[in-house]
Symmetry: C2
Subunit: 112 residues, 2 copies
Amino acid sequence: MAPRPQLGDLEELVLLALLRLGPDAYGAGIREELRGRAGRSVSISTVYVTLMRLEEKGYVRSWKGEPSGERGGKAKRHFEVLPEGVGVLEAVREVRERMWEGVAVEGEARAR
Amino acid sequence: MAPRPQLGDLEELVLLALLRLGPDAYGAGIREELRGRAGRSVSISTVYVTLMRLEEKGYVRSWKGEPSGERGGKAKRHFEVLPEGVGVLEAVREVRERMWEGVAVEGEARAR
DNA sequence: AGGGATTTTTGATTTTGTCAATAAAACCCC
DNA sequence: GGGGTTTTATTGACAAAATCAAAAATCCCT
């Protein structure tokens, strides 16, 4: 079987943004959420490339929306997290929780 | 000022492993911690390359240990997280907490 | 049909993750 | 006191993820 692909740190944030935004999320809104909530300012192309990779990995699905009806513009493409995506998100969260467990941060950094 | 380098997901785990292990951490022990606690099995070279990058970024420092006295072997190189490293770790943790906040995972994934 | 508006896709590059293979020390020992 | 063994660290080379500028694809309007 293929070696399981790791989840990059931006991929993780994009999945989380998708969960927050719900099923009518699309490029620009995701970018907004990344900037506003996560403090991560990336170009719109970065968002799309990441979404495509997540789709290839089977963590999200997408479908073409209806044209908006408003003045001009290509139809949106909507994205949604699949159960596999939720699973991997929870997995990486648990790993980090385990790694933080029992870590005393004061002192460590200033020691010596 | 230089655009702040992002923290990769492995870099993050290595920083956490260092915090857990304390100031006598070195290559092999870090690798063990990654495998045992984080479930991430990487080669020893991967560990070192990551440590070097973290050092270049100013998140860890290292120094050469005394030879162990036991039968053979090059002296260990010890690593320690700097305050800047602790800071960036806390920063990424807060970002993820904010992103998880209010996310309802049941249903989202199965939602129609 | 042509033009402006909005959204997405495509190159192309830099940064991170990855490991096999090689090098560096340190000890032993004859 | 040089060769072998052991442990640790470094290099070199490539794959995967992150990044953006520029180009393409639709859609609405006149």
